[in-house]
Amino acid sequence: MNSVIDSVEPHPFAKICGEPLLEIPQDLYIPPDALEIFLDTFQGPLDLLLYLIRKHNLEILDIPMAELTLQYMAYVEMMRTDQLELAAEYLLMTALLIEIKSRMLLPNPKTATEEEHDPRAELVRRLLEYEQMKKAALRLNELPQAERDFSIIQMWIEQNTVEQLPSIHTDDLYHAWVAILTRAKVNRHHQIKRETLSVRAYMSQVLRDLRGHKQVEFYDLFSPSATVAEVVVTFLAILELAKELLLEISQVKDSGMIYVCAIDAASSA
């Protein structure tokens, strides 16, 4: 009733992952070591059945049921551990095929009211519907897709109206400072010492450079492309940070390498 070809070698099937199907033999025999690829290749029993029918001209009725069942049971055994649901789907399909086959074998008493009912009809309907959707999915994937095939343009808006975040202008900061200084004058709580802004900016930068490092060689804190003025300001920033106890400068021996580390990193180490 069927022609079992047992001589199929597992190698060619297993190694061409992209197009393994060419090697799947007609009798459904899948070498066990290729099973994983096999399971990845098909979305489920419907997909497999569709493939067998389309690719190998297999008539639903001609599927060797005993063979198929044995095979499916073997897969189910292997899938049971981690793909229980999928195993169930294959089982269900096997049961359905066997049911169809057995009904086809029985004499079909025609009644006057009922059109000749082909037990395959429902399965065929499902296969066709699935095939149609499968094709549609491929076509859908061929449509141009935002981000994959083109980029959407959303230009920066000078004032961020999209997110409705408050926008400020440098004048706002200026006003804020004046307000603070005015209050400070009145309160006389403390002195606000003046310092060039560039040193403060470089202080932040040095701390950023130290972040995540246990220690950094002193010279590495200076950009090779820095101008003289930048070197001076960076140096001042390091001294100021040391004065404010924000970093530690150490030298193991005279004229040796100088190391700099952020103090919180040193003390928590």
Binding site: E129, A137, Q145, Q154, T170
Partner: protein, 209 residues
Amino acid sequence: MSAPLMPLHQPDPLDSLSLAKTRQILEAALLAAQDPLPISELKKLFHNEISAAVLSKLLEEIREKWSDSGVELVTVASGWRFQTKAAMQPYLDRLTPQKVPRYSRAVLETLAIIAYRQPVTRGDIEEIRGVGVSSSVLRTLIARGWIEAVGHRNVPGKPELFATTQHFLDDLNLRSLEELPPLEEMKSLIESSDKNQGLPFEEPEESGH
């Protein structure tokens, strides 16, 4: 030092707006917009004092002006928007080395079923595909903003009904669901084998994932 930005610029009274200025404003608004802008929205730029017909004509002029650049003005479901031409994408991809993920067959098939059969429940999708649909598949599509729950079917368990969104159409450059590729008629699986003929189909491609 930049110029102060906020309160200086007052919109011109409309009658003094030249067509060129109008075109300039339209262009800036479309370039800056987060989402596609329909004509009804674009009219607001001019306090609804410019007709849709005039705006359409100006939009066509803008589209024409951009036609030989790397960027194009297109209409999608939610309106007009600027996007880069597909020919630019290989270059732009060099700036973002992590590739946009391709969707698995499970995701694509689920999407196709929702697009063509909507609204559908998860059970409907499973029925068609013949396998379970994992939650991660639906989550992927929801996270992308392509599908959404639009209601519940009145059966036990009240399963959610899923449909595609306008954003899905926008992202696929479509104006409506009718622009989706038409469904192919599948050849019968029974007759041809009854006649013992070979089946005239190509093998369904196994693009894997």
